[in-house]
Symmetry: C2
Subunit: 234 residues, 2 copies
């Protein structure tokens, strides 16, 4: 038997159970002892064990079923989480000075491809904005965005000279849902010019569609400068 700390918290239990799993004392597929049993072993209440196991389940380490008990996941679900910061914060976090420049700002009727992307009705009004974000006066990100005026009518009036649509939208329509697609693409002329790279050079691209309770809010294409890396740990 192992020596237990004076007071066993859910973190201790979580850690110890995880340790046994990692050390193959409880290999993948193993049916773990029930909560009551573990509570007895660790000398604590079942609720404490419950919290530990719940978190292990959230982390994708174990799989729990009512009555079925908890078992070690056969294929641990590894997942990365990326934070999606404001461009400004991202730039400033690197210790660089952030600057923003508006390139284009016009109200328009949604082109066909955008209609499809956002499931918009025909003749929908959208605000089309192009701008560029700098880090220490070097181009950092080129942004090509469409905003659905039906959901955000103020977009047509707002002056995007000082504040980027990125930041304005977050203050205007927070707590949205979104889908992001990351890919590598070769720089077309406008993108290449804006980012100061050669036409055809590889560029890291992100496309994002944003909804507010089912209604499409905005579609944006982001092109990152040469050497950009998206980093995450898990």
């Amino acid at each position: 038997m192992s020596v237990m700390p004076q007071k066993v918290g859910y973190r201790d239990i979580k850690q110890e159970v995880f340790r046994r799993i990692r050390n193959n004392e409880w290999p993948p597929g193993t049916l773990l002892p029930g909560e009551v049993e573990l509570a007895a072993e660790f000398g604590c209440a079942r609720a404490t064990v419950n919290r530990a196991m719940q978190e292990l389940s959230d982390d994708g380490i174990i799989d729990r079923k009512r009555k079925g008990g908890s078992r070690v996941n056969l294929t641990p679900v590894r997942q990365v989480t990326f934070e999606i910061p404001l461009v400004r914060s991202e730039v400033e976090a690197k210790g660089a000075v952030y600057k923003y420049e508006l390139l284009y700002n016009k109200s328009d009727i949604a082109p066909l491809w955008l209609q499809n992307q956002l499931s918009l009705p025909v003749h929908s009004h959208v605000q089309h904005i192009k701008c560029i974000h700098f880090a220490d006066d070097k181009p950092y990100q080129y942004e090509d965005r469409w905003i659905n005026q039906k959901v955000v009518p103020l977009a047509s009036e707002f002056d995007f000279l000082k504040v980027s649509p990125n930041e304005w939208l977050i203050s205007e329509v927070p707590y949205t849902n979104a889908e992001v697609r990351f890919s590598a693409t070769s720089a077309e002329k406008p993108v290449a010019d804006a980012l100061g790279v050669g036409v055809g050079e590889p560029v890291f691209k992100a496309e994002r569609i944003t909804w507010l309770s089912g209604e499409p809010v905005t579609f944006v294409r982001l092109y990152f400068a040469r050497g950009y890396e998206m980093i995450a740990s898990y």
Copy 2:
């Protein structure tokens, strides 16, 4: 006052609090009522409110501090989570037939750059493996991997002709930590040949370093075929 369900669960509270935040009843920065107060309003125990608020905090919606109370996050921390599937699963999920081919497999001394990447001692032995993953006989992903033989000595003996290092490592060394870096790069000759694209074409690249309780396990560079997109929702 609103009509409450007969039994108020933590989900109800979480949902209701979130609703008020989204509807700007509690705009960003607002100091929320304390747990005791909310418990009184919802007619439940403080622990129930606690669980709801804890989850809102985990979700990055609110910010909690002891004694300071809970307040609505000024800039909601949006985060995407990507699942990291096995290449095989990824390919098969697209309804394609998976195939794997080993290109190179040699034991070697870690080159300097790898020493640095993995913080390895000099003259470390590593297994260097190159292989390619197909979807419906079309190149899908080119893999260039180094495995630390100190942590995974069996790597030098294992026959990677049938089973990819990807799958073998997961069964051999599960529950690792990792850092991933995604970027766009232009295809060098070997990559271009393997993926069947032109030299210099943009390629989506992922680099991953994996540790097992502090010890570096493997470094891998993954190059994806033209048109690859990494998709996530949040």
